[in-house]
Amino acid sequence: MSTSARAMAATLSDGSGAERRESLSSQIDALSRELAHLRTLAHAFERWHQDMIALTEHSHNINVAGDDLTDLARNLIIVSLNAAIEAARAGSATHGFVVVAGETKNLSRRVQELTGEINKHLHKSLLLTTATFQDIQAGGKLMMAAVSGLEAMSKKLREGLD
């Protein structure tokens, strides 16, 4: 039993009828005030909601940029392959260019691997963020419903007392 409930029970068993009513009335008033404070939770949920929307949009933009980077790396590999082919055709005088083209190709492959890894992290991050966002959103509705239920009970108690 909570402290306030114990206090209420003690008052009801010890005091006179009028005292009991007065005590109960003040307890209900206190409960109503606490519930009114709790109702302002809705502002916090709205703030989290707005932040999460911004975060989700931000993650989405990073994903789009990641896809663009992957395309860029893919094109870079094609260009470096073409450069290597052209250098080979040009003969032994362009040996240095062949080496540079080969290195460019290797670096492009590495960039592609890295962007692939980054994209995986981004997709994972987006799923985890969205799942958390939805849980917070639904959890907020749950809590507000609980507050509404308690307010209704408090109102009934007040009506019963009056």
Binding site: K120, K124, L127, Q134, Q137, A138, K141
Partner: protein, 181 residues
């Protein structure tokens, strides 16, 4: 970690989804829908999207994830009669009704439940659903009139033991069957 949901609970959750899907994913009552348990379908098809809706309680969250392919049959089925709407918009409404139906069934056991709004993600995100550390994961291949294809995933994450009861009507049907014997 010990199982936080029993086999019975898993079966009832699967039934709740199947029942909701049969009630809400068809446009016309005469349409035929088949729902098959499916092997893991976490491959990412370029250009596809997934739609997520979460049902939360204080002790668990259930993510229902639909894979939406930009297939002509799917668009024709869900967008018809709603000119100017995209498939994703039209399907988000249908998916919302489906999860609403699941929500109502789960509320028989868990009166404190709430639903999120639907959100669309890249289908490649689905590959990481195990990172949500689900206690129960199941996937379905759905087919409407053998032409419209959908995939759905149920992902249940619990922080305490969770049980789901069968619908009262199912229990009655079951007891009715027993009486025949």
């Amino acid at each position: 970690m010990a199982d936080l949901i029993s086999e019975h609970g898993r079966q009832n959750l699967a039934r709740a989804f199947e029942r909701a899907a049969r009630e809400t994913l068809i446009v016309d009552v005469n349409d035929q829908i088949s729902i098959q348990d499916s092997e893991m379908l976490f491959h990412a098809d370029p250009g596809q999207a997934i739609l997520l809706i979460t049902i939360s309680s204080f002790t668990f969250r259930l993510l229902t994830i639909f894979q939406i392919a930009e297939a002509p049959a799917l668009s024709a089925y869900y967008v018809r009669g709603a000119a100017g709407r995209s498939l994703q918009e039209a399907f988000a409404e249908v998916a919302n009704m489906c999860c609403g139906a699941i929500n109502r069934q789960l509320a028989l056991t868990w009166p404190h439940l709430a639903m999120s709004i639907p959100q669309i993600l890249d289908t490649r995100c689905l590959a990481f659903v195990n990172d949500l550390r689900p206690q129960y994961l199941s996937q379905y291949a759905l087919s409407i009139n053998e032409a419209v294809k959908l995939r759905a995933t149920l992902c249940l994450c619990c922080s305490a033991p969770v049980e789901f009861a069968a619908l009262a009507s199912e229990a009655q049907e079951s007891s009715g069957e027993l009486e025949l014997f």
